[in-house]
Each structure stands twice: as structure tokens, then as C-alpha cells.
Symmetry: C2
Subunit: 331 residues, 2 copies
């Protein structure tokens, strides 16, 4: 469930002054996030092995992806969520027929319980960072970028990092392209965390072990205080000669606006984090303006419309041309 | 902006007992509706002619499609909406940077004003049923279906009908396939209207001229009391040996549930109308169970989550395996 567009955003390039910027637009999958890549392969494997029940823990995109994918595949899905999940997301997951268990003790407990339940009841475990197929599926984004750029790897990629597998999987793909001999290097990866949840960036900056934090950010997709794939991400950033940046909630909201306004792409906060990070990376000299740069737009904003906050408002008018002229400021 | 999947919904086929049912899934375009087909061609033409301003009237999918498309193309969009437009949709349209004029007198007045303003100010008119390119763009869905079915036309197609161009354009495509000699017939078209807004079905049943009605349906996409393309639709249904059916709001909500639950497709009410109509058409003998049938799923439900109403709810549990067992009903 990949095959997403690599968008050449001409207006955004002009606005940012980055003439070789590309957007990998993962809002265009069946459920609007890159999680569908992993779900598809996991379900294919489940069916091949005649497993008829799958499960995972998630607050958002993975839950929705698995619920909808399982519905299409005819597989029973049991999904563990924290009790405070948003009503809108819950509705989408339930609509697809998944059994949803709200765990009172919160996300971390839901995650542990889902693993335990999968082992106890013989359910196939879809949890990202646990099921190795998720990496194998998500690495395909690197192959696509390479192909869409005319069989070359970019100079730098920017992507949001929460738990870690999305970015690690992409770097696994680029590493395999190099191992196959079709590219001679890895792109520098700029791993973007939220200011209110940056355990990996802090560990990187201080050369310390990763310490878990209490997430405080609107970017649900990367609000992970204790990243499962911390070691992999730190290695990927190091090996690629890359770096970490942290972005504020405000800058992600601005990046959502910029993406919509210049490129017609509707992203959620985590989905816009890569672009938000580009501004910081340019300012810090981590990315040069002339380089071939890919920002990974990982998920759609349609599922969380509360973060779509236009700066302008509509004008109410009566049905006359004069009122139109006045409203649109024609001379 | 087509190239949407023709889904082979195995579970839905079983549930309905229609083994050759297919779903043309137009929820997978950039803004989640078949309107993107028309917007893309209109904008391409606008750019080719160095027109830098476009406009339309719409309450929903067309507005969103044009706002987002114009943002991507760097063209100025002015969009006329009725004052009572939903806040969620308005937000999406504004986010893409369109100028939005809320017309106090309602949709019909907004439509007339948008045409008048386009003429007066030299804006390129995107209004469906007015701009002939919209039909040329939307007819491509027929070519895709023909190709995806292995170069044959289905026995029957079912699709929602409001203003009319979506269905007329599809039939124009099928007519051209016949004219080209690559098919020898038209598919029978079953045109689906909402019970609370069925001016075309009523005219068809009574062999009377079309009389405008006051729409009363949740299916915004087909809540059109005075269809612009009435004559074309009536001709298409007649020439194809087809028919009209009307479906209740309740049956569209059920079809949304069925689509999500069996096929993992999230539709809006109008988008699920084709499937809702299939049930009526089967009952009335308008479609045979063994026939090759395509239901046109025209738009995503993500933009109007208020109509996603799951029949089941989540179960709140504490973090223990025993509570999981009890909740999921394991022996």
C-alpha cells in the first residue's frame, strides 16, 4: 500500500528558497498515513499463515490502518487504545468493525497488554517496532524515492520521529540500495522531534542514554516518551552524517498551513514536522539550500481537523456583484 | 487526477450475494472525491491560457477540490458558498488559501452570483455542468473501469445523482468506448437519488418535466433540488435501458457501515448511495445477481465524520488479561 507521489512543490520551493525540495506525500494511502505500508504486508502474511486475528496498540494512525485493513482482508482485529482517545478517531476505528479495548492505565499499559494478549490468545501482533515485517514494508518508501528521483538518492531526508520505525525503515531501504550497488551513499537524515517530546534529540545532544519523557505536544504521531527503536534511530542518524532538530507545536501548525497553501497537501501535525524541521535545519546549516532534499509527509490532516487552523476567514456577503467587489478588494 | 482503484470486494460480494460486484473507489484522489478529475483538467487549461483566477460555487467537494487544486497550481480561487456551510468544510477550504464568500441568500444565489462574477471579473468558471471540460475530465472514469475490467464494460453501473454531471460524464465515456468500436453496448445505469431529494426520479416515474424540490437529505453531494444536467441524465438512463432508484438517509448510513466493515472504504452519504441503491435495485429486479456490476463510490467520509456512526462501541478495561478475555468473549 505504497506507491505514493513524490511531489515537486514549485510554489513551496520558491517560498523557502530550496529549489530541489521534494515532498513524499504519504497522505495518499488508503487510510492516509504511511502505516498502511506495514499493515498491508502484515495482513498478507497473516492470511498466508491462516491467522485470522490480529492486534495492536495505538492511539491513532496504526489503529485506523489496521482496523480498515483487517476489514478489507476479512481478519478480526482487536485494538488496544488509551482510554482518552479522541472520539473522532475512535469512531473511524469502530466503524471498520474492530474490537476496541480502552485501557484505563493509558498508552504504555495498552501497549504491554496488547503484546501479552497476542501471545496468550494466538493473535498476530501488528505492533510496529515489534513485528519485523513492519520495517520490511516501510523501507519501500526509500526505493520509491530513489526511483522517483530518477534512480538516485537525495542529499538529505527530513522526517518525524516518535517511536522510530518509520525513519529506521526508510534508512534500511537506503542502506539496501547502497548494498545492492545502485547508490554510493546514504542521504543525510534530519530526524525531527517535537519540542515537547524529544528524548532522542536530548540523548543525541548530550551523548547520554535515552531517558523517557512525558510527551507534551499536539503531534500525536510522534508523542512517544520512550521510543521503541531508539537505538536504531541514533545509529541511522550517526551513520548517515545526519542530525536531530526539535520543532514547536506552533511551527508544525504553520507548516500545515504552508503545505496546504502552497502545495494543496493537508497534513496532520506530525506529518508536517518534516517541513517544520527543514526551516530549523536550514537556519542551523544542517541542510544546504541547493541540495536535493526530501521531506516525508507521513499522515493526512483529514483525521484531525482540529489542527487545521486557517489564518483567514470567510466574508459574508449579500448576493450582489458590488458586494463581491468590495469583499475581494477589486479596484 | 483519476487512476483510482477498482476494488474487488470479496466480503461484500458474499454479504450481498453479488459475486461480480466491483467498487470504483474515488475516495482515493487528492481531496477524496471524483471532483478532482474535473478540477485538474480545468486548472491545466486555465494555466495554459494564462488565466490566474478561477471560481466556483459549491457547498462541499467541488469547493475543497478547487481550493486545494488552485493552491497546488498557484492560481487564485474565489469560492462562493451558502452562509450555512459546515465549519469543518469551511476550514479545509480556507486552509488552502481560497477566498471564500458566504452568500446570505443560499446556494442557488451563490451559484448565480459566481457565474455573474466570473463573467464580470474575468475569472475562469469551474462550475460543474457549466464548464464543458468538467465532463471531458470526469468521463475518464468510464475508460478506467473498462480497462480495469479487462477491456469490457460492466452490465450495470450504479451511481449517485444530484446535479447530474458525474453520471452523465461517466456515460459519455461509455458512449465513446462504443463509438470507438471497443465495446458493443452501454452499461445499464441505475441512477440513485436520495428519498428526500428526487426530482429526476419523480420526473422519470411520471414521465413529466423535472420540477425543482426543496432537498431534505443528509447526502449533501446529491442534495440538489434543481439539477443542472437533468436532460442529460434522463437521456442517459433511457438510452442505456437503465432506471432510477431512491434511497433513504438511513440506508445510506447503513451502506457507509457496510462499506467500512466489509471493504475498509470510508464513504460519505452520497458516496455510499450507489451501494445503498444496489439493494433496492436487486429487490426490484433492476440488476441481476450474476451480472457484472460497478458501484461508483464518489467521495470520502473523512471530510464529514458526523455521518460515520459505528453500531458498536469500545469497551473500557483495566490492564489485565482477564479483563481482555471477558471483553472479547473468549471462552
Amino acid at each position: 500500500m505504497g506507491g505514493t507521489p513524490l511531489v515537486s512543490p514549485s510554489r513551496l520551493r520558491d517560498v523557502l528558497g530550496v529549489p530541489n525540495l521534494w515532498l513524499k506525500d504519504e497522505t495518499r494511502t488508503p487510510t492516509g498515513s504511511n502505516k498502511d505500508r506495514a499493515t498491508a504486508l502484515v495482513l498478507e502474511n497473516a492470511m498466508r499463515n491462516e491467522v485470522h486475528a490480529v492486534s495492536c496498540a495505538s492511539t491513532g494512525n496504526v489503529a485506523m490502518s489496521l482496523a480498515v485493513g483487517a476489514a478489507a482482508a476479512g481478519v478480526k482485529a482487536t485494538i488496544f487504545v488509551p482510554a482518552e482517545i479522541s472520539e473522532a478517531k475512535l469512531r473511524l476505528i469502530l466503524l471498520a468493525g474492530a474490537t476496541v479495548l480502552k485501557v484505563r492505565e493509558g498508552y504504555e499499559a495498552a501497549f504491554e497488554l496488547s503484546r501479552e494478549a497476542a501471545r496468550a490468545f494466538g493473535w498476530y501482533d501488528r505492533n510496529t517496532g515489534v513485528n519485523p515485517l513492519t520495517l520490511e514494508a516501510k523501507k519501500t518508501v526509500a526505493f520509491e524515492i530513489w526511483e522517483q528521483l530518477g534512480r538516485r538518492v537525495p542529499d538529505a531526508v527530513l522526517g518525524p520521529v516518535g517511536d522510530g520505525p518509520t525513519l529506521s525503515a526508510m534508512m534500511k531501504g537506503f542502506r539496501e540500495l547502497k548494498a545492492c550497488g545502485v547508490s554510493d551513499r546514504l542521504p543525510r537524515v534530519v530526524a525531527v522531534q517535537a519540542e515537547g517530546c524529544q528524548p532522542l534529540k536530548k540523548a543525541w545532544d548530550a551523548s547520554d542514554p535515552v531517558r523517557s519523557v512525558q510527551p507534551e505536544t499536539i503531534a500525536e504521531g510522534i508523542a512517544v516518551g520512550a521510543p521503541v527503536s531508539a537505538a536504531l534511530v541514533l545509529r541511522d542518524v550517526r551513520e548517515s552524517g545526519g542530525s536531530f532538530v526539535a520543532v514547536s507545536d506552533e511551527s508544525m501548525l504553520e507548516a500545515i498551513q504552508t503545505l496546504a497553501f502552497t502545495s494543496g497537501i493537508l497534513a496532520e501535525p506530525a506529518g508536517a514536522a518534516g517541513l517544520a524541521g527543514l526551516q530549523s535545519a536550514l537556519a542551523a546549516g544542517l541542510v544546504e539550500r541547493g541540495e536535493i532534499v526530501v521531506a516525508h509527509v507521513t499522515g493526512t490532516g483529514l483525521k484531525s481537523p482540529q489542527y487545521l487552523r486557517p489564518e483567514v476567514s470567510a466574508t459574508e456577503i449579500g448576493a450582489s456583484l458590488e458586494e463581491v467587489e468590495r469583499a475581494v478588494g477589486l479596484p
